[in-house]
């Protein structure tokens, strides 16, 4: 892990200024340089993010079947339908938004706290440290298809290992982990935490190593105990990392698709059909791309609002 600190960067700064002063003649080149470096990424960003995003708005204003020769302009009808109670689209869409909301609510706190604890432990010096770091990260390497099918079998009510071992321990052994409420949520959240905690832990770990050890020494000299050092040194030091982790975890949870698709197939009924699942169903299977695009924008709107709130609350408060 990188152990540079801010002191080092400041020391190098003058060296960076000096050669630039000599090349005053080519100011234009200097202005363009950073942008030229960004060009490859910018091209990808424009082609695969920006254009589709604006194209999506255009689609959401049409009855858009990409195979139909004429795409009928419907204005805001697709959006209006999402806010008209009584239609089936309204019912299924908000049900799926509810499922996404529930999953986000249950999974985000766990995915913020547990990886932090894991990172704090892995940040200690002990034998086999690298082994455990690798082990906690390992599940993240697997694709969602692998973990989905793996856990579907492990968690099966009738033939799964989880119930089998629960039975061996004398515990209830007929829990329908993948097809009954509330167990489906416990399974989905549990599997997701197991699967992705390594990623958040690695980010925390990098953040922890970025905290100046001198601050801990100073705190110790001041007589701070472990808990006080965590509260007054570690947490404030992690604030930008925490903001990042919370933001990306909320976004990842709100975009959950594969786990529900494979583990519970959206069931029981459609209790675990998430918003992204329903959007895919509406757009790709039922060919109502316009309506699906409108749904994506409603979902995106919620995510933007949540992300802004997140930034407002966690932004570093300048004195």
């Amino acid at each position: 892990m990188d152990t540079r600190n801010s002191g080092g960067l400041e020391a190098e700064a003058p060296q960076y200024e000096a050669p630039r002063a000599k090349r005053r003649g080519s100011v234009r080149a200097n202005v363009l340089t950073p942008y030229l470096f960004m060009v490859p990424y910018l091209i990808l960003f424009v082609v695969f993010v920006l254009i589709p995003a604006f194209f999506g708005i255009w689609m959401s204003l049409h009855q858009w079947d990409y195979f139909a020769p004429v795409k009928e302009w419907v204005g805001l009808d697709n959006f209006a339908e999402l806010f008209t109670p009584g239609t089936i689209t309204y019912e299924l869409f908000w049900k799926s938004m509810g499922a996404t909301g529930k999953f986000t609510l249950y999974s985000v706190p766990l995915l913020v706290v547990i990886p932090l604890i894991v990172a704090l432990i892995l940040n200690q010096k002990f034998r086999g440290q690298s082994f455990f770091r690798a082990m906690y990260f390992a599940p993240y390497v697997l694709g969602v298809a692998v973990i989905g099918i793996l856990w579907r079998f492990l968690l099966d009510r009738n033939v799964g290992y989880v119930n089998y071992y629960l039975g061996q321990l004398g515990l209830p052994d007929s829990i329908a982990w993948t097809s009954a409420l509330p167990w489906v949520w416990i399974s989905l959240v549990g599997v997701t935490v197991w699967w992705t905690l390594g990623f958040n832990a690695v980010i925390y770990l990098a953040g922890l190593q970025d905290i100046d050890p001198a601050l801990y020494d100073a705190a110790k000299v001041d007589g701070a105990n472990r808990w006080q050092r965590f509260w007054h040194v570690t947490l404030p030091g992690l604030r930008p990392v925490l903001l990042f982790v919370i933001t990306i975890t909320i976004l990842a949870s709100a975009n959950m698709f594969g786990q529900s698709y494979l583990l519970t197939e959206g069931g029981p009924g459609e209790a675990t059909q998430t918003a992204v699942m329903y959007i895919a169903e509406e757009g790709l299977r039922n060919y109502r791309m316009g309506s699906a695009a409108a749904m994506s924008y409603v979902l995106a709107f919620f995510l933007v609002v949540i992300s802004i709130l997140n930034f407002v609350f966690l932004r570093r408060k300048e004195p």
Binding site: R157, S179, A180, E265, Y287
Partner: protein, 444 residues
Amino acid sequence: MDFDQPVNRSYTRREFLSVGAMAGAGLVIMSGCGGSTSPQTGGGGAGYSGPNVELDFWNGLTGGDGPYMVKLIERFNSQNENINVKMSAIEWDVFYQKLPSAISVGRGPQVALMQSFYVPTFAARNIIMPLDDVAQSLGLKASDFTPAVWEAGAYEGQRYGIPLDVWPYALYYNKTVMEKGGLDPDKPPQTGDEFISALEQLKAEGIEGWWIEPTYPTVNWLFQSLIPQFGGSLFNEDLTEATINSEPNLEVLTWLTDIVGEGYSPKNVGTDTDDTAFHNDKSAFMWIGPWQINFWKQYKDLEWGVTTVPKVGAEKGTWAGSHNFVIPQQRNQDPNELQASKVFINWIGENSAEWAEAGQVPARESVRETQAFQSLKEQNVFADELPYVHFSPKLPGFDDIDRNALAPALNQALLLTKEPESALDEANERANELLKESRETYEG
């Protein structure tokens, strides 16, 4: 995607001889185990003499049946020097999403297979071409196909699909488990009463005899197998209104949920674990299609049999689907490619006795009468069901209703979290809404 490579290779000596023999005697000598012969009919499908063409052939045969199709195509390619068929197997679910988008950007395949219940949707959306002239120039006649199978490839009076095979639901039984339960393993139940009393007897021995998987599409096809037996249907005659909550359908769903309620089936059976239970000698029965035949054959210790569906209602009946050849719309249809596609479709159809080894029943009666097919014991049980097979309603957008109205209702009823009556009422209401929506989509 496993088969996403051209199956083009040089002749083996044996194949070379076959081709020679065909040219000489007008007969195709089949290589492989059967060694039987099939007549080579004339007409528009017999030959293609234009420049070399390459045909992309898409289908969803990602399971155990894929390799059989690849084998057939290899033989086709070696016998037709100027046609090279390249098969891509894409999971059905993805296939139906990928096909329209590929065609819309002009990169669609020249030929594809499609499950019969998707044909009306794709026909109504103009994604596939009417094939009446193809059927005519191939000399295909309804009389060579079972009427129900032939009809499944038509929509609004036009033909869009050339049926390759047919796969009805039937009853598989595990002989070991039946014996364990004190049942005669050579006398599988033939009626609903016999079936229930067999389940009762198994239950007394502590065996959950039939694991009902309550998820799409397995349960939808089971439900559609039973409702014709009780005189039920999903829609009225002209498909303008849903009849999902009709009395016969409720009777069927109650019969099914009682099986779970009585403990003849475990609750909350997970996807595919009904298979697992069957081949591990934990369950005695399974209602499913012929694709299971080769799956069971992998398990050497498994003692199993298959019989026609029990008569639970007033008359026998079962649900069936069929793989149909379709030709996607092309922006600029190349007449050479079209002719080559016809030759290909016809050739596979005529040689479908080999395809039957993959588990399916050939759609053509002339092929079902061949020695090669007659010798396939299990497949013939499914063929026996042909007089009373029922296909899904020929309604554009039916798959939407199947997944979003019917599936959740059946799922919740069989998980015993919703009463059958209210489940079907809700499904019916949704189906009518979706019907309205799809009318706007497909007719508006």
